[in-house]
């Protein structure tokens, strides 16, 4: 029996057959009968098929039979088996597990906002060889209802005081300009991020004029096209501004403006899925790690931790999946502090490196949309007043978006995203109405609130690995300018992961250890 089966198999060969019906005389016994192989084109080589006899008692076993007889049941079983073995067919496990993340993944990115997706994109783009790294992005909320990216005002500027921030922003804006080359997916429509190249106008009073001048010098050195304007020039260019109290203004001529962050997010998502990154709709609840003790060169005992598993709890369920991983990237935005605590960052006596927590907190910020029929025209840049209040145009219909960052004492409770309309009346409207007299008559149309992943130490991002939890990388804490630096930060983290050091933009000043050493990299132009 076996020999005959082998002869058949070898003689005909798996791929030597043409498609179509093959009604050959099969000599494998009485099982097949006169039906032959209707539709299937491979002779079953395994011999065990021959031992199944025509037994009515076994009729109920085969799944999916229409009760026509043992024949068809066996045929569909054979077909299913063949399809599951050949490439491209669907593997049907006993129950559906498609919602669970895989059991192993090389990199787990906690957080699927613009920073997390940017890191995933650059990891897949810079990896050698192609398909070498398995990346999993874990995002708790697929609707992005509380994500900072979706609720952002969408501005991008190069007017920062720290040179690294300027470089990050310059690269990101070039990325956005060439977004259809970077994020092109074959057969999908091109992305339109709706960039408004209107520029940023930062106003400074007497006190801040000197700082603004030195900032503009640094910005020009890095290659940003920024010019300084006196109050006289301001009045000529923008007649709707009241220049009382303004000593100096800096105006970005090129490469500054605002765009649609949702489009960038969806474009990144689409491209990253086409590159083979896996997504999981779940929440990280636990890290399983191991510690090892070593000594530093000065003889101190140091405990190094290494994360081995990430427990991902599935949404609206108690089920969780442990994902074995090599690296974890903390891109959780406003919730990065909690993720860092889970990993054991900050568990130790205060004042030591073990006891230094990640100082990233959730801070709530309000954005208001109002309509002002006599307001500034089409050429309005993103105006940031010396008092911190800002506004920009939205669309063609004389609608304006704006807000103001509250002072430390007035920080609202970040527990929910409810909007405080009194804040507009007391803190946002007066300075804007003083600066732009047309805003004395306006009508608020709507408002929303979003989170800043606010770095309470120096309001700049944290990028790079943690010194003690050796395989956790941070890409968070950008305090309101994360969206405009996302592409560049993603590339920097990918370079760090793949090469061990930064190659294009040096973000060593943004390392975690500055919190322990007390070295502030203070960013002055925070909006």
């Amino acid at each position: 029996m076996l020999r005959r089966a082998l002869q058949l198999g070898l003689g005909r060969g798996l791929l030597g057959r043409r498609l179509g019906t093959h009604r050959g005389g099969s000599t494998l016994g009485k099982v097949e009968g006169s039906g032959g192989y209707r539709g299937s084109w491979v002779a079953p080589v395994s011999s065990y098929v021959t031992f199944r006899t025509r037994d009515p008692a076994h009729d109920g076993k085969t799944v999916g039979r229409l009760g026509e007889g043992d024949q068809n049941g066996k045929m569909s079983e054979i077909k299913k088996k063949i399809q599951s073995v050949l490439p491209g067919g669907a593997w049907n496990p006993p129950y559906d597990t498609s919602y669970l993340p895989p059991e192993h993944s090389d990199v787990v990115i906690v957080g699927g906002g613009v920073i997390g997706l940017s890191v995933a994109y650059w990891l897949k783009r810079l990896e050698k060889p192609r398909g070498a790294i398995r990346v999993l992005v874990v995002e708790r909320d697929h609707t992005y209802s509380q994500a900072s990216t979706a609720l952002s005002v969408g501005g991008i500027r190069q007017q920062f005081s720290v040179p690294e921030n300027i470089q990050l922003s310059l690269f990101s804006v070039e990325f956005l300009r060439n977004i259809n080359e970077y994020l092109a997916v074959v057969d999908d429509p091109p992305l339109d991020i709706q960039f408004n190249p209107s520029g940023y106008l930062l106003l400074a009073s007497e006190k801040g004029a000197a700082v603004m001048e030195s900032n503009v010098k640094v910005q020009r050195q890095e290659g940003a096209k920024v010019c300084l304007m006196s109050p006289e020039q301001l009045r000529n260019k923008f007649p709707w501004i009241n220049t009382e109290g303004v000593a100096l203004a800096s105006y970005g001529m090129e490469y500054e403006g605002w765009f649609d962050p949702w489009c960038l997010l969806q474009g990144l998502r689409r491209k990253v899925q086409s590159m083979g990154v896996l997504f999981c709709h779940g929440e990280v609840t636990r890290f399983v790690s191991s510690s090892s003790h070593t000594e530093t060169t000065s003889g101190e005992e140091v405990t190094l931790k290494r994360i081995h598993e990430v427990h991902v709890k599935i949404d609206r369920s108690l089920e969780y999946q442990p994902v074995e991983c090599a690296l974890v990237i903390n891109a959780a935005g406003a919730w990065s502090g909690q993720i860092a605590e889970l990993a054991g960052v900050g568990k130790g006596p205060p004042g030591t490196l073990q006891g230094t927590k990640l100082p990233v907190e959730r801070r709530k910020r309000y954005v208001y949309l109002w309509h002002c029929p006599q307001g500034p025209g089409l050429e309005t840049p993103f105006v940031v007043d010396a008092s911190g209040a800002y506004f920009r145009r939205e669309g063609l219909g004389n609608n304006y978006l704006g807000g103001c960052s509250p002072t430390e004492e007035e920080e609202p409770d970040p527990g929910n995203l409810e909007v405080d309309h009194d804040f507009f009346q007391d803190k946002v409207w007066p300075p804007l109405a003083q600066r732009v007299p047309a805003f004395e008559t306006l009508k608020v149309r709507s408002a929303w609130a979003g989170y800043y992943d606010y770095n309470t130490f120096d309001q700049n991002g944290v990028v790079g690995p943690h010194p003690l939890v050796v395989n956790m990388y941070f890409a968070t804490g950008f305090s309101g300018h994360g969206l405009q630096q996302a592409p560049a930060v993603g590339r920097a983290v990918a370079e760090m992961v793949l090469d061990g050091h930064f190659q294009t933009i040096n973000l060593n000043p943004f390392h975690f250890s500055r919190f322990y050493l007390g070295e502030k990299v203070q960013e002055h132009n925070i909006i």
């Binding site: 080359e181 999908d188 408004n196 520029g199 050429e379 063609l396």
Partner: protein
Amino acid sequence: MGLGKTKPLHLVMPVWNRGTRGIRGLSRAVALEGSQKKGRSLLQFLADRFYDVQALREYLLQKQVLKVHQKNRPFTYIKERFGPHAAGAYFILKQGGAVKFQGKEWIRSDAHGHFSLDFLKFQAVPVEAVNASGCAINYQGLDSLLALKELRSLWLQRCPHVDDWCLGRLHPLANSLQELSLAGCPRISERGLASLHHLQNLRRLDISDLHAVSNPGLTRILVEEMLPSCQVLGADWAQGLPSGPDEQSQDKASPIPA
């Protein structure tokens, strides 16, 4: 696309068609109502299932992009040797446009793309007008144009790669530019037009036929307010309005039969 004419391949079993199309498939189904040609859908089908086909199509896409970049490369040697005006003129002529030097006639390349190099002898004669209609000029290529400090009129009609980013770049020409035509450029929207307020010497601006502008009539009004001393040619202000009042007035005009 070379693969469009191959015979249907027999490697694919019909039963595999009904597999998951994935997120990309869903968005594509929505977007491609227009292009239902058989050749395109075969290519999509193949690219969905075979990595090699996908890689090949990505490579072909990249090649198209590189072609445009190649056309917009800077001619640094000519710029160093003959000056920025000659380099800009050479760039435009190479793309298929026309150039007018101050005091001279229009120079244009012929049907085969050849043009005489006499203009290289003009020492420091500035370029006055550039007609780059239909040329594949993009953001990089504008480098050559921005060096022409005395350019008076610039025509960029129907350029397929001129978009909002390019308009944000035109501010160095603010001192001299008096006439700008952007008619028919498919990628320009009202957001790019907002950055034209730097060009305070502009006297004639043509923004007709811009398909990416959402509301042409209103945009024209806003641009006119932004550039008060400029004559703006564009859509009529009534274009965006619904046609209700027109019908009513017609009713009134028709004579009532006695």
